[in-house]
């Protein structure tokens, strides 16, 4: 075995006072070898990106290393002066970040930002820098590199921006590339492309890559070796195959088990069941710009002639990438958004054109669960009131509404005492349960879950999905489940509608969609699911 290019030994990083624990990283030791991709994997708050940031000398202000060492090139980088660190950064160790939106300076052209890397290390003439920038952009596979070089970041898509970041990182042929959740903010197809790019570049340049992620699917796609972190400690490390196929630590096992499996079960077709919700010819266009002073408006067809049917007791998944219009459909159904045309028949009555009291009444039967567990509960209301407000608005007495709230809390496995507490006293998963309780308070027949588990860590996600499935069964609900995550869709949905650019490109039973996709787009989507190949291989 070769000598490690980076060696982290007994690293301890202290958090500022008042944090939930004393050390972000507690006695962590691992090596990074040349030419390998090491994945550091963990849930949010596990401290997975701290050691990498420490190696770059880029820790947040109040967070500082208090013990151990990080050996690079035979020296402890923790002991380097700022000037020496500057020489190291970008030249020997480069880094890319999670948010391609904010990681580029919005006011500078792409080529200037790339050229800066050479400038920082006093290399090349300005002209050569510009030429190199084009070469790099070409290498990372940006279409029309000349044009991209002249562009400002906001003119590029998320994937392109991440490619620009990679180009910058590659500029000086660093020995180590640190990738801190580089694909988390990207759509699944884009993610697949970026992962492939990183893999290819790593092979071509023989770099060592430290890849930080929370997603085991991604790990399966890219990792040579894996280190799993929990609460600032490495609980398990090994080759990708060892860890994924045969996890030793209980926590790793739990995490892997929580990943929704791709194999959708074959369910009975909803024949004979009565449709509860019928959507026909739904259209919605956005007009942006314009207004009082006659600027030219821009029209986006967010929902383009969508037809759906939802039967009692059924779960319909709507999947698609960002901008596909899947959320717009959901919002049109509950009339948080006014559709331009089309009918939304709820138990036979069209509610697309209702307004005022009639709409309020109709909405009782169709409720929604939201994505963000932090933004979906009013921080200034107690949980009891949050749940009871709906019934009270429909004339239920306060006493009765609160009594029902207590019952609902129990239904979602929360303590009844919760009614007197504020949302901020609960964790993300608990908050999502409160959100579910609120949706149930009006005794709806249809629930629309809009990315309801996307913001949750994978272990919590599994619990919430179980709860939803359970409630659906017990209360005979029909569920529309909107998600970008095909694994989740596969696990929970009976039928799936795939959306692209406002249109439903394919709809059918879940197993049929996964096993025998009819449209090219669906196929691309499914193939892009990280870890799919490995899973298929494992399945046999």
């Amino acid at each position: 075995m070769k000598d490690p290019v980076l060696s982290i030994k007994n690293l301890k990083i202290a958090l500022p006072e008042g944090a939930d624990r004393d050390f972000a990283v507690d006695d962590v030791t691992y090596d990074l070898f040349p030419g390998e991709i090491l994945c550091i994997v963990g849930e949010s708050g596990s401290g997975k990106s701290m050691s990498a940031n420490a190696a770059m000398g880029l820790l947040p202000d109040l967070v500082r290393p208090v013990g151990g060492e990080i050996i690079f090139d035979g020296t402890d980088v923790l002991k380097l002066s700022e000037a020496e660190m500057m020489d190291l950064r970008g030249k020997k160790i480069a880094m890319i970040f999670q948010e391609p939106m904010s990681a580029l300076n919005p006011l500078m052209r792409v080529e200037d930002q790339i050229a800066e890397v050479f400038e920082a290390h006093g290399l090349l003439t300005p002209k050569e820098r510009a030429a190199r920038a084009i070469e790099l952009l070409t290498e990372v596979g940006i279409p029309d590199p000349q044009k991209a070089a002249r562009a400002y970041p906001f003119q590029l898509s998320g994937g392109q921006r991440q490619r620009v970041m990679i180009a910058m990182a590659l500029a000086l042929e660093p020995r180590i590339l640190i990738a801190d959740e580089p694909t988390t903010a990207l759509d699944v197809t884009t993610q697949a492309q970026i992962l492939e790019l990183i893999r290819n570049l790593q092979e071509k340049h023989g770099m060592a890559v430290m890849f930080i992620t929370h997603d085991f699917g991604v790990v399966a796609e890219i990792a040579d070796r894996v280190a799993v972190m929990q609460y600032g400690k490495i609980v398990e490390a090994g080759t990708a195959d060892e860890v994924l196929d045969n996890p030793q630590h209980e926590y790793t096992q739990k995490l892997i088990a929580a990943i929704p499996k791709l194999a959708a079960e074959e369910t009975e077709a909803p024949v004979g069941k009565t449709p509860i919700l019928e959507v026909e010819g739904l259209n919605k266009t956005y007009v942006t710009g314009g207004g009082l002073f006659f600027s030219k408006p821009r029209v986006v067809h967010a929902v383009n002639d969508v037809n759906l049917t939802l039967c009692e007791g059924e779960t319909l998944g709507i999947v698609g990438e960002s901008g596909s219009g899947k959320s717009s459909v959901g919002r049109c159904l509950v009339r948080l958004m006014q559709p331009d045309s089309g009918t939304v028949k709820l138990a036979g009555h069209d509610m697309a054109q209702l307004s005022g009291d009639a709409l309020r009444e109709a909405r009782k039967s169709i409720q929604m669960i939201f994505q963000d567990p932090y933004a979906s509960l009013n921080p200034r209301s107690k949980v009891g009131r949050i749940i009871a407000e709906g019934p009270m608005a429909h004339g239920v007495s306060k006493q009765e509404a609160y009594a029902r709230a207590v019952k609902l809390l129990e239904l979602v496995d929360l303590d009844a005492l919760a009614i007197d507490r504020y949302p901020h006293e609960f964790s993300g998963g608990q908050r999502q349960r409160i959100g579910i309780a609120r949706a149930l308070a009006l005794e709806p027949r249809v629930i629309i879950a809009d990315e309801a588990v996307s913001a949750l860590d994978v272990s919590i996600q599994a619990q919430v999905l179980d709860l939803l499935a359970d409630l659906k069964e017990r209360l005979n609900l029909a569920l529309i489940f909107i998600t970008h995550d095909l694994r989740v869709a596969a696990q929970i949905c009976d039928r799936i509608a795939v959306m692209q650019k406002g249109k439903v490109v394919e709809m059918g039973p879940a197993h049929a969609i996964f096993n025998n996709p009819q449209s090219d787009y669906t196929r691309t989507l499914i193939e892009a699911i990280p870890g799919r190949e490995k899973e298929l291989a494992a399945a046999g």
Binding site: M56, L58, E82, M86, D87, L88, R89, G90, K91, A94, M95, F97, E99, S102, A103, L104, N105, P106, L107, M108, E116, V117, E119, A120, H121, Y152, F154, Q155, M165, M168, F293, F294, S295
Partner: protein, 322 residues
């Protein structure tokens, strides 16, 4: 770009007319009219004399007719005639405008340059004594009544030390010309411009400091550091430019408001500007003149807003292209 400017000018014209209309009604709601004031000044007057003046000034017509006549004039770039001062309003304003612009623009530049410089300095030394000193000074400037600062400055620098002239636009009767005159005006300018600039200097300082610190937490700064850039370059190229965006917005607002807001300074320093003119016109119900001053100062606001927007488009590519 041209289309954008034209559109903004059209919008500005509508706002201007609205402002004129509002002020027209406001000023006519006030007790007394210029005829009575002028009759009063003549030392004696009878009702017939006043009626004669009113007829002459067109004040006997219905209010809406008067408004119509006035606005029609304005649309033809005629701001009317000041009967009180026996001069066309435009001439009166143009007489005074240069002094006001000189004062306010100097104050503006002083406050912007010193304020942002101090803000950058403070942000670079967060928590150190120089940051504390600058921040404290900014707080003091922020809380000091402008006119009081002006008075104290006169007392100290003009009366006590006798370093700088304490009033006026230039040495009266000295009849300097050329460079000597510019120097003289410059000396007269120092105290009023500085005191007028104090408050906004504080605002810029605080805003720049906060904005610099905020931007320095953003991801792209981390990217820049990861490239191995020197912190000086990061400060200048990455943080400062982005941090200036809100400052530019504020500066545009301030520059516009300064013209109408210099009344106090002009009062204390006997500066022959628009602010004084407005105050006098108001007390004498010199309707056309007052409306004219409002027209000009509101136009200033709109012009500076437009300049800001254009500048902003220049600085921020997101707005330029979108």
């Amino acid at each position: 770009m041209l289309r954008f400017i034209l559109m903004r000018l059209g919008k500005a014209a509508i706002i201007l007319i609205a402002i004129l209309t509002l002020n027209f009604f406001l000023i006519h709601a006030a007790p007394g009219d210029p005829a009575a004031v002028m009759a009063g000044e003549a030392g004696a007057a009878d009702a017939k004399f006043i009626a004669q003046l009113r007829e002459q000034f067109g004040l006997d017509k219905p209010l809406l007719t008067q408004l119509g006549i006035y606005l029609k004039g304005v649309l033809q770039f005629d701001l009317g005639y000041s009967y009180r001062q026996q001069m066309p309003v435009a001439d009166l304003i143009l007489d005074r405008l240069p002094a006001t612009l000189l004062l306010t623009m100097t104050a503006f530049v002083i406050s912007l340059v010193l304020g942002t410089a101090a803000g950058v300095l403070a942000s670079a030394r967060v928590g150190k004594w120089s940051d504390t000193a600058i921040s404290t000074l900014a707080l003091l400037f922020y809380a000091t009544p402008l006119y009081w600062a002006a008075l104290m400055a006169v007392l100290l620098f003009s009366v006590y030390f006798n370093w700088l002239p304490g009033f006026g636009y230039e040495t009266v009767g000295a009849n300097y010309t050329g460079f000597r005159r510019a120097l003289d005006i410059g000396q007269h300018l120092i105290l009023p411009a500085t005191t007028l600039g104090l408050f906004f200097m504080a605002v810029y300082m605080r805003m720049t400091r906060a904005s610099m610190l905020e931007v320095s937490q953003l991801d792209f700064v981390k990217t820049a550091r990861a490239k191995g850039l020197k912190s000086g370059i990061i400060q200048r190229r990455h943080i400062f430019r982005n941090a200036m965006l809100p400052v530019v917005t504020l500066a545009g607002l301030q520059a516009g408001q300064l013209v109408g807001g210099a009344v106090l300074t002009e009062t204390v320093f006997a500066w022959p500007g628009i602010g004084r003119l407005m105050f006098e016109a108001l007390a004498q119900r010199d309707y056309n003149l007052l409306l004219g001053v409002f027209f000009v100062s509101a136009a200033m606001v709109l012009v500076f807003n437009l300049i800001t927007d254009i500048l902003y488009r220049f600085v921020d590519p997101r707005i330029r292209v979108a």
